[in-house]
Symmetry: C3
Subunit: 343 residues, 3 copies
C-alpha cells in the first residue's frame, strides 16, 4: 500500500485531490474499486471518469474530473507501469540453492542467488548476486549470468554464452543453440561447427520459446535494453542494436544487423547478410530482403514504404476487375483502330 502522495513522488506527478488516499492496487478504469488507482491514456475513455469508483486516476495535465482524485503527469502510461511495479511486484523470495538443484562444484555462485529444483549448472558457470534461476534452468559449462537477472523455468543457455545484468528470460528460451550452417559435400551436407557464442547485454528481455543461435565464429549479440517477444528466431552472427523491439514469431537470418530503436512487427522475416538501419519500423508479416537506410516505416514482401504498401494492398482485391477492364479496353481500342482505318 502507498498513499497517493507517495505515488506522485515516485512518478514525478502532482496530486489534485486527496493525497492521503491509500492505494492498494492498480485496475482497469471500468473495473476499479475504492482503494485502487487507474489511468486514462486515451481521450475516448474520458466519460468513464464520471462513473469510475477508483480512488484515483492518472491523467495528463488539463483533464478535469470533479469528485475524483487525480494524479497528473505527462505520461500516464509510463506512470501506470511504474505504479504497477511499486504496488504489485515483489523481488522473488531468496531461497538459496534449493534441494534438487545440481550445481557443479566449480561453478561460481554469488551471494543472494536463488537456484530452484531441477536446475543444472555446469562447470565454471558464474551467476551474479540477486539473480533467480527458476526451476529447470539448464546452464552449460562456462556460461556467465550477471546480477539481478530473472531466468524463468526451463531456459537453456549453452556453453560459453554471456548474459548481462538485469536480463529477464521468459520460460524455455534457448540461448546458444548451434547456428544452422552446413557445407554441401556432394549430395549431402557437412556440419559447420558453431564455435562462437551469444552475448546478451544489460536490461534485455527474451520471450518464451525464443531461440538465439550461437555464432559460427565470433558473437551473436543483442544490444542493451532490447526486448524480444516469444517464439522469435535469431540466427547465428546476428547483431541487434540497443532498445529495439522484436515482436513474436519474427525470424532474422544469419549475419544480419538490426540497428537501434527498431521495431519489427509480428511474424516479420529478415533475410541474411543485410543491414537494417536505426529507427526502422517493419509492419507485421513483412519480408525484409535488402539493406534499409533507417528511419523508415516499411511493409510487405519484399518490404516497401508502408504508405505505398497500404495503397497497393488495398488495390490487390481489384486485380480481377482490372484484368477484365484491360481486356475490355483492348477490344474497344481494336474496334476504334478498325474504325479509323476504315475511315
Amino acid at each position: 500500500m502507498k498513499t497517493l502522495k507517495e505515488l506522485a513522488d515516485l512518478i514525478g506527478g502532482t496530486v489534485v485531490g486527496d493525497g492521503d488516499a491509500e492505494i492498494h492496487r492498480v485496475a482497469g478504469i471500468d473495473s476499479a474499486k475504492p482503494g485502487e488507482i487507474t489511468f486514462l491514456a486515451n481521450p475516448k475513455y474520458l466519460p468513464l471518469l464520471k462513473t469510475t469508483q477508483a480512488s484515483a486516476v492518472m491523467v495528463t495535465p488539463g483533464v478535469e474530473a470533479p469528485g475524483v482524485s487525480l494524479l497528473v503527469c505527462p505520461n500516464p502510461y509510463l506512470a501506470f507501469a511504474k505504479v504497477l511495479t511499486a504496488l504489485h511486484v515483489a523481488k522473488p523470495e531468496y531461497r538459496g540453492i534449493m534441494e534438487g538443484a545440481y550445481v557443479d562444484p566449480e561453478a561460481k555462485i554469488a551471494d543472494g542467488v536463488t537456484i530452484h529444483p531441477g536446475c543444472v549448472i555446469g562447470k565454471n558457470v558464474s551467476v551474479g548476486s540477486g539473480t533467480t534461476l527458476y526451476p529447470g534452468v539448464l546452464l552449460y559449462d562456462n556460461v556467465t549470468v550477471g546480477e539481478d537477472c530473472l531466468i524463468h523455468a526451463g531456459t537453456v543457455v549453452r556453453e560459453g554464452c554471456r548474459l548481462g545484468n538485469r536480463v529477464i528470460v521468459q520460460p524455455k528460451a534457448v540461448i546458444g543453440s548451434d547456428g544452422f550452417g552446413f557445407a554441401p559435400d556432394g549430395s549431402s551436407y557437412f556440419k559447420i561447427p558453431q564455435v562462437g557464442i551469444v552475448v546478451i547485454e544489460d536490461d534485455v528481455e527474451i520471450g518464451a520459446n525464443s531461440c538465439l543461435d550461437r555464432a559460427a565464429l565470433g558473437e551473436t549479440r543483442i544490444g542493451r535494453g532490447t526486448k524480444i517477444d516469444n517464439l522469435v528466431q535469431i540466427a547465428h552472427n546476428v547483431k541487434i542494436g540497443a532498445d529495439s523491439i522484436i515482436v513474436s514469431q519474427v525470424g532474422i537470418a544469419g549475419s544480419t544487423e538490426i540497428g537501434k530503436h527498431c521495431t519489427l512487427g509480428g511474424q516479420v522475416g529478415v533475410a541474411g547478410h543485410i543491414k537494417v538501419g536505426d529507427n526502422t519500423m517493419v509492419g507485421a508479416q513483412s519480408g525484409v530482403t535488402g539493406n534499409m537506410p533507417g528511419g523508415e516505416v516499411i511493409s510487405g514482401t519484399p518490404a516497401i514504404p508502408h504508405r505505398d504498401w497500404l495503397k497497393a494492398a488495398t488495390s490487390f482485391s481489384k486485380l480481377p476487375e482490372m484484368r477484365k477492364e484491360i481486356k475490355k479496353l483492348k477490344k474497344q481500342v481494336e474496334e476504334l483502330q478498325e474504325l479509323t482505318k476504315e475511315g
Copy 2:
C-alpha cells in the same frame, strides 16, 4: 480386443456381417490385416473395399461390400476416432509422486495423481484427481490444475494460472509467460508488470512449444473445448471462445477476442485489440487486421473474403503482363487521339 458388435454399440452403429469378429487394432484401409478394423470416409477409396484384408470396415449407410463385415454409421471419421480410443488408448499408469519429483509441502495433490521425476511443484499448487504430470513439468506457486488432465513433459505453468478439467498440454508449452508490454521512457523502455493470469477452460488442448502469455491485468482466457496446435503465440489479454481451432504457428496479438467455432489456419497473424466474430474461418498465412463480423471465410493480408482473395491471388502472376498491356494501350490510345485530332 473388442468384438465388432461391442464396437457397434460403442459408436451407435449397425453391423452388417460377423458381429462376433474379434477386432484388435485400427489400421489404414490399404495396410489393414485380419483382426483389424479400418474406415472409409472418402468415396474415392471405394475400390479398396474389394481388396482390403481388414476384418471390418466402418462405412456410411448405402455402401455395399460382399465378403467384408461392415460397421455402418453416419460419421465413419468420428467412429474411427472413437474406436481408436477404445482399442488403443489406455489411461496412463498410476504411479503416484515418483522419486525425483519436487513437490512443495504446501501443494494440494489429490488422490490418483501421477507426478513423474523432474517435476517441480510450487507452493499452494492444486492438482485434481486423475491428472498425470509427465517428466519435467514445472508448476509455479498458486497454479491450479483440474482433474483428469494430461500435462506432457517439460510444460511450464507460471504463477497463479488455472487449468480446467480434462485439459491436454503437449510437451513444453508455456502457460503464463509475461505479456510483451513496455512503456517508452525516453529512448528506452520501462517494463509493464504483467500481473494477470491465464485461464484454460475444460477440454482444451494446447500444442507443443506454444506460448500463452498472462494478462497485464485480468485474464487471458481459452474457451472450453478449443484446440491449439504447436508453436502458437497467444498474447496477453487475448480471449478465445469455445470450440475454436487454432492451427500451428498462428500468432494472436494482445487484447484481441476470437469467437466460438472459429478456425485459424497455419501461420495466420491476428492484429491486437480487434474482435473476430463466431464461426470465422481464416485461410493459412493470412493477416487479420480489423474486426470481423463472424460467419465469413477470409484470406490474405489484409484478409478479405476468401473467394475474392483466390481470384486476386490467381491474377497476381499476371501483373507484369498487365503492366505491358496498359503501356501498349496508352500508346495506342495516344495514336488514336492523334488520328482523330488530325481528322
Copy 3:
C-alpha cells in the same frame, strides 16, 4: 594444434608455403592472427589477402598471395568446415550416468553413454553407445536413440519414437507430440488418438524448439541427412526425403511428402496432403498449396515459379498507379468512341 601439412592431408588439399606452420585456431579473414587459419570463398575479399595476419588461408586453385601460406583446395568452404571440426570440436567428455539422472531400471543404456542430471529415461528405452544426453532430456517409454547422437538439453522424445545414429538435436526440440487431429462431433471436437510414431533416420539434425508430431497411424519420417532448423513445425504423417534443408519457422501440414534435396526457406508454409518433388527450392515466406513436380525454384503464396513471382512482386507497388491509368484509359476511350460516333 595441427600443422598446415596435416590439415592439407585431412581435406585433400595442397600446401603452397610453409607446411610446418602450426595452426591452432580458425578465424575470420579480417580478425585472424598468427597461428590461425582462415578461408577465402568469395573473390570480393581477395584484397584482404594482402593484409591478413593469418598463418594460412584456404583458397581455390589459381589464387596467388606472395608472403602468405596457402592451402589450395577445390571447395574452401567445405575445407573450412572440416578444419574447424578438426581444431575446435572435441567429443563430449564421457561422464556415464550422472547423479540427478533418473533412468528406469528396464532401460537399455549402452557403454559409453553420458546422461546428465535432470534427464528422465523411461521403460524399455534403448540408447546406443557414444551418445550424450545433455541435462533435462526426457525420453518416454520405448524410445530408441542410436549411437553417437548428441541430444541437447531439455529435448523431449515421446513414447515409441526412434532416432538413428549420429542424430543431433538442439535444445528443447519435441519429437513425438500428438498430431493435431480432431473429428467434429456436433459443435465440439473429439480427439483422434495419435498412435503412430516419429522415425528420425541417421545423420539428421533438428533445431531448437522444433516440433515433430507423431503419426495418427504409422510414421512421421525424416530422411537420412536432412537438416531442420529452429522453431519448425512438422505435422503428423509428414515424410521428408534425404538431404533436404528446412529453414527456421517452416510449417509443413499433415501427410505431406517432401522429396530429397529440397530446400524450404524460412517461414514457408506447406499445405497438407500434397507432394513436393525432389530438388524443389521454395523461397522464404512462401505458401505451397499444391503438388510440385520437383526441380523447380518457387516463391509466393500460392507459390509460382520464382522468376515470375519476382517480376510480379516488383509490379505490386505499381498497382495504385495501374488503377489510375486504367481509369484514365477508360475515359479516353469513351471520348474516342464519342468522337468516332459523331464522325
